[in-house]
C-alpha cells in the first residue's frame, strides 16, 4: 500500500506528457481526417532539437521551448505544404502511405545525419530528487509535466475561444459547410497540421532530458499516443486527454505488478481490445470506425 502515492504521482507525470503527444495527433485526425503515421518522427526531431541546443549551445531544454515551439510550428507548416497538401483530398490509402513515407524519410535522415547512438541530455538538475507525500521524483519529470499541462491547457483554450480555434472546430464538424460559409479550409488544414506538429515537437523537447535520444525514439511514444487517441475516440481532444492518463496508469501499475519487461503488452492488448469491442473509443460516437471517414 506504500506504493500507492508513488504510483498515482507517476501516472500523473507520465500522463501529462502522453496527453501532449496525443492531443496533437487527435487534433490532426479530427480536422483533417488523416492519421499521422509520422507523428513519432516529429517527436524524435523535437528530442534532437533539445539535445543539440543543449550540447552545442548549452541552452536549457525547457527554456529553448520559447524558440523551439515556433520552430516546430514552422517545420509543421512547411511539411504540410510540401507533403500533405497535394494528397489532402486523396483516398485513405494514399494519405496513410504518404505519412508512412514521411516517417521513413525523417527517421533515416536522422540515422544518416546523427547515427544510431543513443544520446543523453544531462542537465544539472537531472539527478535532483524531490519527495512529495512519500513519493520520489526527479525535477526533470516534474518540469516536463508542468510544461506539458500548461501547453495542453493553452491548446484547449485556443480551440475554445480563439477565432482560429473556432474555425478549426467548424471544419472538423463539416468541411463542406465550412467551405460554404467562406472558411479557407486549406489554410485551416495547414494551421491544424502545424499546431499538431508543434505539440508533439514540444513534447519531444520535454522528454529529451528524461529519455535517451535516438532516431527511432519516437516509435515507443507514438504507439502509446495511438492507444490513447483511439481509446479517447479519434478526433476527440478531451477524450484523448483522459485516455492518456488511463494508458499511463496501465503502464505504471502494470510495470509495478508484472514488471517492466511486459508492460507494453498490457497497453497493446488494451488497445486491441478497445479496437474490437468499442472502436469508436470510450467517448466517441458508435459506428465512426465503420464509416472510416
Amino acid at each position: 500500500m506504500d506504493a500507492i502515492p508513488q504510483l498515482a504521482f507517476s501516472t500523473l507525470l507520465l500522463g501529462g506528457v502522453y496527453a501532449l503527444i496525443s492531443v496533437g495527433l487527435t487534433l490532426i485526425f479530427g480536422v483533417m481526417r488523416v492519421v499521422n503515421f509520422a507523428h513519432g518522427e516529429f517527436l524524435m526531431l523535437g528530442m534532437y532539437l533539445a539535445f543539440w541546443a543543449f550540447s552545442l549551445l548549452h541552452f536549457d531544454p525547457y527554456l529553448t521551448l520559447i524558440v523551439s515551439l515556433p520552430l516546430c510550428f514552422a517545420v509543421g507548416w512547411a511539411s504540410y505544404r510540401a507533403v500533405m497538401q497535394p494528397v489532402i483530398h486523396a483516398s485513405h490509402n494514399v494519405q496513410i502511405f504518404t505519412t508512412v513515407g514521411l516517417s521513413i524519410a525523417l527517421q533515416n535522415l536522422a540515422l544518416v545525419a546523427w547515427t544510431a547512438d543513443a544520446r543523453f541530455v544531462r542537465t544539472d538538475y537531472y539527478a535532483v530528487v524531490v519527495r512529495i507525500a512519500g513519493a520520489a521524483f526527479n525535477v526533470a519529470q516534474i518540469v516536463a509535466f508542468a510544461v506539458a499541462v500548461a501547453l495542453t491547457a493553452a491548446l484547449f483554450a485556443f480551440m475554445r475561444w480563439s477565432y482560429t480555434g473556432k474555425v478549426m472546430r467548424a471544419t472538423a464538424q463539416d468541411r463542406q459547410a465550412a467551405a460554404l460559409v467562406g472558411i479557407d479550409t486549406d489554410r485551416v488544414y495547414a494551421v491544424t497540421w502545424a499546431v499538431g506538429i508543434a505539440c508533439v515537437g514540444a513534447a519531444g523537447v520535454l522528454l529529451a532530458p528524461v529519455y535517451p535520444v535516438y532516431p527511432t525514439a519516437g516509435l515507443q511514444f507514438v504507439l502509446i499516443a495511438y492507444v490513447a487517441v483511439v481509446l479517447g475516440g479519434l478526433g476527440d481532444m478531451a477524450g484523448a486527454l483522459i485516455a492518456a492518463l488511463v494508458v499511463a496508469a496501465v503502464e505504471v501499475v502494470g510495470s509495478y505488478v508484472i514488471g517492466t519487461a511486459w508492460k507494453e503488452v498490457l497497453y497493446l492488448l488494451l488497445f486491441i481490445a478497445v479496437l474490437i469491442v468499442r472502436p469508436a473509443g470510450l467517448f466517441g460516437q458508435r459506428g465512426a470506425e465503420a464509416l472510416g471517414t
Binding site: 483516398s91 485513405h92 496513410i96 502511405f97 513515407g101
Partner: protein, 324 residues
C-alpha cells in the same frame, strides 16, 4: 502489364538465370528479389485485392520464421514441417484477426495490425524460455533437401521461384475468378456489394487467412535461407512497410506489381549497400531516405503504381495511333 506475359517472362528469366549466372552475389540478389516479391504478393492478396491495408504483416512472416527455427532447434524437425506449422498458425491467427477486426476500416485497421505485430515482437524478444529472447535463434544447417540445408544458391533460386509462382497464381485466381471479382467489389464499396448478396465478411476473412499463410511460408523459407531469426527484424513495422511498399510501387491489386516493385526496391537497396558499404557504411541508411521520398512522390503522382502507369501509357499510345 496486367496480362500474364510480363510475369511469365520475369519468372522464365529467373528460372533460367541459375544455368548461366555463376556469380554468388547476383544469385543471392535474385533469391532475395523472389522472396521479397513473394512476400509483397502475399501482402497484396489482403492489402491490394481485399483492400485490407495491413502494416502488421511482419507478424505472419515472423511466425513462419519462428516456427521453422523453433521446430528445427528444439525438436530437430524438418523445416518443411516448420513451414507447414507456421502457415497453419498464421492462418488461424489471420482467421481470428479477420473476424475481430472485420468492422474496422481505413486507419483503424492499420492501427490494429500494427498493435498485433508489436505484441508478437514483445513476445518474441521477451519470452526467453520459449523463443531464446532478444538474441534470436540461429537456424541449424543440416545438409540435404529434406532439412533444407542447401549451400548451392542456384537451387535456392528454384525453390523460392516455385513459391513466387505459387503466390502469383493465387493472385491470378483473384484476377480471373468470380470470388476475385466479388472481393474487388467489397473493396470498392462494401455496402453496395453486401446489398447484391456478396458474402463480404467471409471473403475478407478468407483473403486475410490466405495472405497470412502465404506470408508465413515466405518467412519460413527466408529464415532457412538466411540462417538466423532476429525478433526485432522479423516482427518489425519496417518489414511490414517493406511488403506494402513493394506492392504499392508495383501496383496495388495487380498480380505482377509486387514482383516488379520488389525487384526495383531490392536492386536499389543491394546496389546502394554494395556502393556505400565499408567506408561509407554510415550512409547505408540513405536508401531508406530514398524509399521514403519515393513513396511520397509515388502517392502524389502515380498512386496506381507502375503496372497501372505503364498500362495507361500503352493504352494512350494505342489510342493516339488509332486516330488518323
Amino acid at each position: 502489364m496486367r496480362g500474364v506475359a510480363p510475369a511469365l517472362v520475369f519468372f522464365g528469366a529467373a528460372g533460367l538465370a541459375p544455368l548461366v549466372v555463376r556469380d554468388a552475389f547476383l544469385l543471392d540478389s535474385l533469391v532475395l528479389i523472389l522472396i521479397w516479391g513473394a512476400s509483397a504478393a502475399a501482402w497484396n492478396v489482403a492489402g491490394g485485392y481485399a483492400g485490407q491495408i495491413s502494416l502488421g504483416h511482419s507478424a505472419f512472416f515472423g511466425l513462419g520464421a519462428y516456427a521453422t527455427a523453433l521446430l528445427a532447434t528444439r525438436w530437430g524437425l524438418s523445416p518443411w514441417l516448420g513451414l507447414t506449422v507456421g502457415a497453419a498458425v498464421a492462418m488461424a491467427i489471420g482467421l481470428v484477426i479477420g473476424y475481430l477486426s472485420n468492422r474496422l476500416r481505413g486507419p483503424y485497421f492499420v492501427l490494429a495490425t500494427i498493435a498485433f505485430s508489436q505484441v508478437l515482437l514483445i513476445a518474441g524478444s521477451r519470452w526467453r524460455g520459449f523463443t531464446a529472447g532478444s538474441e534470436g535463434i540461429p537456424v541449424p544447417f543440416r545438409p540435404g533437401f529434406w532439412t533444407l540445408g542447401i549451400a548451392d544458391k542456384r537451387i535456392w533460386v528454384w525453390i523460392v521461384l516455385a513459391l513466387a509462382v505459387l503466390v502469383w497464381l493465387a493472385q491470378l485466381y483473384l484476377d480471373r475468378s468470380r470470388r476475385g471479382y466479388q472481393l474487388v467489389a467489397v473493396r470498392e464499396d462494401e455496402d453496395a456489394a453486401l446489398s447484391l448478396g456478396v458474402p463480404a465478411r467471409r471473403l475478407k476473412v478468407a483473403a486475410i487467412c490466405a495472405s497470412a499463410a502465404l506470408t508465413a511460408v515466405c518467412g519460413a523459407l527466408w529464415a532457412q535461407y538466411i540462417g538466423f531469426v532476429d525478433p526485432f527484424y522479423v516482427f518489425s513495422v519496417d518489414l511490414s512497410i517493406r511488403f506494402a511498399l513493394a506492392a504499392i510501387i508495383g501496383g496495388l491489386g495487380t498480380a505482377f506489381g509486387p514482383f516488379l516493385g520488389a525487384a526495383l526496391i531490392t536492386t536499389v537497396e543491394t546496389s546502394l549497400r554494395a556502393h556505400f558499404g565499408g567506408i561509407g557504411a554510415g550512409l547505408v541508411g540513405i536508401y531508406l531516405v530514398v524509399y521514403g521520398c519515393a513513396l511520397i512522390v509515388m502517392m502524389r503522382f502515380v498512386p496506381q503504381g507502375l503496372v497501372g502507369w505503364i498500362d495507361d501509357r500503352l493504352r494512350r499510345r494505342a489510342v493516339a495511333r488509332a486516330e488518323p
